[in-house]
Amino acid sequence: MLRFLRGEPHSVVNVNDMEQNKAQQHHHEQQHDAALRDDLTWTQYITNLAANKLAPPKSQTSKVLEDFLSRLSEELYEKGEGRIRERLGGGDGASDKDRAFQSSDVGKEGSVSPIGLAAANADTMTLEQPLVGQQEAPQLTMATAKMESFSFSGNQDLARPTSSVQQLHQEIIAGNRWIDVLWQFIAAHQKRLVDPERLGIEPSERMDIQVELIRQIAASYDKLGMLTRLPDSLSEARELKVVDDIRTMALVYVTRSLMDVASPSEIADDNDETSPKKRQSIEFPRSVISPYEGIQPIEFDPMELLVNV
């Protein structure tokens, strides 16, 4: 009451608190919106990528994959030790070990690679986006590099007699888990129609195929990123796609007009060098030529790449 009489607004603190809370809430909402927007952008990018070969926002790609991997890393190595032990005790280790031995055979002379098997069955396998061979990939993403260190660490560990079996098992399980999650992520977002089960591939061999495909997908992102001239901005890429479509329609119109303009007698005159009615040749402006002229398309046979892996 005294405060009030002195003219001090006694509710100032409360109002400030409310304002702070409001600001915090607004900030959280903004963060949530930004995350949602990122998710949407990412999903849209993935769905457009295969069809339109738009520029992959590399930062976004690596960011999402790195987030995934770092989260998994934390889960597996800091919080999930108990789960790993549980899985080890569950008797799954033997099959994982076998799997590791199998993967160590990949690439040796005379051994049948699961990728080769996939290629043999590849008439039933449809890829929305061409794959790029690992030997052609200039550099792998961090995700792939990390994945490699897990998926192929089995080979290195087998070559080292001093490594403990438990450590090996842990790495194999961690590797499997990572690959599964990454695979699910890619399959869900990219709508790839690669189904090892449908292809009749043994479960023990699926992991190797998944590893290879994930590696190739990552490599193809890099390759696309290097070759494309489109900017990172998705809206601008969409705009360019619209312009490209309009350009195609314009070219259709131009072709049709030119076909309509020339009558059979005019064509005959044009073909006759000595004809006085031969029309002067006309030059097309540069703008009707594709702006992508000069960029060599990537020509490769996915089948061949799969066999050579």
Partner: protein, 130 residues
Amino acid sequence: MFRVLNRYDEVFQIEMDGWCFGVTNYPGEVSAQVVHRIIRLLASSFQTAIEHNVVFDILDLASKFSVAARCLVHEQEIAYSIIAQLPNPANLHEDQQCVLGMVIDKVEQRYPGVLETFYKRWQIGAREAA
């Protein structure tokens, strides 16, 4: 009047009609950005047209593009956008400068002040080039 070289007026007409046809028949939404992007793409065509002594009607062209784009962009805006893509007179021959003058003159009559605006711009461009 200057003689049109290589029947370029026909080519130019077909090309512009083609783009208008594309914009008109595009099934999705055509935004103002897309229209301006197309105009930017046509810069080389405008330059070639002037080099071939084609006195094209910017107002007519702007009106066609505006109608094609479902009147989302005003024809004056498109006309200005086209003029912005025209070559700098400093880089043209005397005849070509005359053709450019005739092209702009029609717009100047409709929208006074255009020439002055772009003259300043071209002067700055020429100074930067020097």
